[in-house]
Point group: C2
Chain length 699, copies 2
Amino acid sequence: MKKQWHKIMDGVWRLRLGVPEALTPVKLRRVPMAERNLSAAGLTGNPRPHFAADRVIFKTTRRGCLAMLPLGKEEAVYGFGLQLSSFQQNGRKKTIRVNSDPRGDLGDSHAPVPFYLSTRGYGILADTARYCSFYCGSHADPPHGIGVTTEELYRSGKTEDSFTALDVPTASGIDLYYFAGPTMKEALQRYVLFSGGGAMPPEWGLGIFYRGYSPNDQKATAELAAAIREDHIPCDVFGLEPGWQSHSYSCSYLWDRKRFPAPEQLIGHLHDSNFRINLWEQMFVHPSSPLYRKLEKYSGDVKVWNGLVPDYTLDTPRRIFGEFQNKELIQKGIDGFKVDECDHSDFIRVAWSFPEYSMFPGGMDGEQMHGFLGIYAQQILSEQYLRNNRRTWSNVRASHALGAPYPFVLYSDLYDHRDFIRGVVTSSLSGLLWTPEVRQCANAEELLRRLQSVIFSPMALINSWMLKNPPWKQYDIERNNAGVPLDDGGELQEKCRKILQLRMRLLPYLYAAFYRYFESGIPVFRPPVLEFPHMESFRGTDDAYFVGDDLYFAPMIAGEQSRKVFLPPGEWHDFFDGNKIWQGNCEYEFSPAPEEILLFVRCGALLPLAAPEEFVSGRTVYQITPHAYGRADRYCCRLFADDGESWELLQKPDCGMTLEFRAEDKVCRISAGKHARTERYRIHEVKCMGTGTIPRKLS
Amino acid sequence: MKKQWHKIMDGVWRLRLGVPEALTPVKLRRVPMAERNLSAAGLTGNPRPHFAADRVIFKTTRRGCLAMLPLGKEEAVYGFGLQLSSFQQNGRKKTIRVNSDPRGDLGDSHAPVPFYLSTRGYGILADTARYCSFYCGSHADPPHGIGVTTEELYRSGKTEDSFTALDVPTASGIDLYYFAGPTMKEALQRYVLFSGGGAMPPEWGLGIFYRGYSPNDQKATAELAAAIREDHIPCDVFGLEPGWQSHSYSCSYLWDRKRFPAPEQLIGHLHDSNFRINLWEQMFVHPSSPLYRKLEKYSGDVKVWNGLVPDYTLDTPRRIFGEFQNKELIQKGIDGFKVDECDHSDFIRVAWSFPEYSMFPGGMDGEQMHGFLGIYAQQILSEQYLRNNRRTWSNVRASHALGAPYPFVLYSDLYDHRDFIRGVVTSSLSGLLWTPEVRQCANAEELLRRLQSVIFSPMALINSWMLKNPPWKQYDIERNNAGVPLDDGGELQEKCRKILQLRMRLLPYLYAAFYRYFESGIPVFRPPVLEFPHMESFRGTDDAYFVGDDLYFAPMIAGEQSRKVFLPPGEWHDFFDGNKIWQGNCEYEFSPAPEEILLFVRCGALLPLAAPEEFVSGRTVYQITPHAYGRADRYCCRLFADDGESWELLQKPDCGMTLEFRAEDKVCRISAGKHARTERYRIHEVKCMGTGTIPRKLS
């Protein structure tokens, strides 16, 4: 059969090789492609794949099937979902296998995705939930002549055109999807729109999340929440860990009435204090759950922690589970979930999850289901929120292909700070969200550094499930739980509050950037290679990234005295002292104090900075002081002014506001879409920043 | 088809499930079963499997096939070849996948084996080179009632009878081999004999191995060897790293005549100085090798470092490669090899090895070949030495099922000392050999501790490929290579020499123990669980082990001030001060100084301690002072008195000598087999040790 590219939507093409499997991410998708968004996203035309279909080598093998795609020697390759251990993937083998706590750099992750992006300006998705492996040019022959050193031979994969090999076990065929550019960024946008568009948070989802001490009962939970308000720590979401349930590991999905005698009261009380509530859950259904009997016949043949693993490829169990969650929890005021352990357990002492050989009534085996379980968790819960015309911003520990539209942020029990920062940029390149959550710390510096990076991520999460008291009262876990506070007169708490307030100051800016992600698929947090794919300086940069269009953030790790930052082209202002200006396209070394943040503002930007709220709601009126940087003639920025929490924006998307500031008359003009709730933003006088001089480049 | 056990040899049974693959370790074996050794090994009768064949559940799946075997709640499970990260495997999933530098505890290793042993007294081999996974009871349902804590549920796999699940990808069937006991030790013996018997070293293989600095040329090599002799450091084998070849990574198998202008001269010179010579090699054939053209058409479709991967399932390439090695190297005086990188590269930055999707002319794919390449390396080279009536004691970086008969010791670029010690005992439980080789160290204590453990392993290897000078001159790598020696007046060297001399003092004892391994399959270095499978105290003991029958060694790790040792039943003497006696079946805490070794001698043992030679040869006459421990009436021990290096023992196995010492008349009687070369041992007067008192047990 002749190989042919088949158009799926403008700039998205499918190549069918062999006889693909029946149960795949694309075939089982429940969120439609966001084709309608192409023009709003600025993606015009219908660019074709840059290589002919017949250049793809395909064969079936005893083991499954193999596809080999051209890979030019100049291409740098990224992607494969959340990858904590590596960024650029040339020369590497990546196996797409969902797992918790992965060690090594095998491809395993909470959310691996069979998708890659090339600096050549395209993306490829392999439509399978199998543990497929990508070899990113690693088996290229060396160039001409005979190398004489090991180093020379190791480099060989990059010195001539080669291929990306995709090894799919078990399958007799595979659908490959090609996402055209012309740039890498546009290819990613097309992938995100093909997935259904980017996830859209409620405004409160961009506030601060705090998860309380696991053993806390109702009283202790209420007290902890009250203490956060008393301390004026910004906080929008309070999370409850497994203890809320009468049985967890696996789950009853019922309140433990001994420890939480009156959950309705707690929910009411927390809501009255302007907290949203997030509950921990698993997908494994314990015999004591009222769902057990109903789901038993729709479940796989191996239990996990004695709990059912329902097959949510089937409509009936999806409906049963979704309706229960809706009726018992969502409608009773639960605003989000943390869906734990829907990944896998190869790297753990005890292999707790269902094995690959499990079989499910819908026809999947365990290998496939590991790619789907996290996706189904997100899907079912999102659908219930949509049904209630509410948005959520939740957590999930597994995702996979086409995960972009789900308002779920990935997290991990791992904790290496550098890896956590890398996760922000790798996840974004597959349309996923990741939080480098903050837990206990070795010292005050670490707490500050971790908070500084978590506020520049899709979820500013302090996950104190193992800490009785907030970490700024005591970062050390033993002392914290022994009730020994820091003896610093609240100094650390004050520094931490300032960091969290910075998140709140940026909230309107981030909210508008997320709307853009939702609409056009451009991730809010993105590595510089996405903007400058041909700049060699950025090809390995996984430790500094854009935050929206106008901010560039370079996180510090505790213990580092200084770090280098290669600033993108243009001129950049210090966020905190706008008069400090740096020439871009150049590398600098900075030595910020532990409480200082390396945050740069693009010259010419208008930043809609808000007075920091402690929490937000539809009643919040943001006090915006636009900051104009540099000496441009005209500045502008966007705000998104909807109700901040419903799905009304689907019907009434024209909620945008534009602020425009002209240097000549010093006036800030506001224009607004038809449905914009302009009353939610009070715009103060523009502050002009940056009359300083540009420092010399480093030699 | 009815499931049936089919007898293979006494106490070894096969269960054929489905339609097994054509290319498997047993089907491609080249070393016959050592059935003839059963009686010499003391394995009598024909014990049947302890469970009926129809209790095994078998099904084929889309992914491959699945077998589930009974696993009693009282059983503890071990095996799976060399495993550096874990010992007892209950509750774990292990994937049998050959890899270098594995991280995590997934089953990957240089030498994973689809074989496990149970304390119930049996072993199971799955005859496949595929990446099969064993689930050792990990998915058992919890017991009666509902657990209320996570801990309770996590433990569940051990609280009731369950199963071991074996998941084999791609295959439509599998042959399972059952090795009967009645004890775990006998089951292991049967597995080793089924594999062809244990590996038999030449005497010199039990001496000290030293590998020189990689960049050394002929002159520097000769100088380094001379310096070792001048320092009176015991050394039997000198190893050359890649630099000897005109091309390595991949290999030419030719001397680099620029750096080694006269290799014949070097070989002669080293032999004259009583060194054996070991050469580094890979299995990948570089275009500049005279073998390249001859092997090209017999090779896989993917090259490694531009080198061929010949398919040695085929006779012709095996003959071509073997004869070249024989003619050009073995017959010219090379005594052994280090076969590097025949494993795999999933955990490495660049995936350098051939991918699983590779295809080989004999019909294997890359997945299977990864299980075989290390085995073929060992097989081809062993066959050539056998043909020359010489023994070798070599290194290899990969092995798999049925690896026992090959005189190749595994090693790794990893270096965690605790993991390295664990490797000694895990490898032995699958009939494999492993050296916890010594390289550079952080301090003198680490060097001493590592040397202490390496001398109690199948190969006492100092691998200084990255050190200009021996580590006892300078353990720190930078200073060593900068030529900055320790300023300790040779104190560390003296301590190290003493440790190495201890190996030499034990050489006759170890040689006899290895002959027993060769003949009966009882590993020389073995964990106490093999002797006492039902003692709970030993089920997790992977940091202390038997050395032969009469010694028990408890290694220390640098930085430890003390360690606990649970001594096996009986009474135990301190090796160094025989008057210190400890009651066994009891735990003690010891705090040895860095140069002190925790080595215990069984009460009642007669140890044939030798005066330490600097090297051994067929001309060596061992000066033996038998040491009698405790107050028995009669003591005895065995020596093996052949020529120490030829395969004559195959025709003339009765080379054993027995020393018997009776306390009553203080006379040591010597009896010898017909072909024993008794002149090689000069037996001195017996030294009686241990008139001290037994210390009280710890409370």
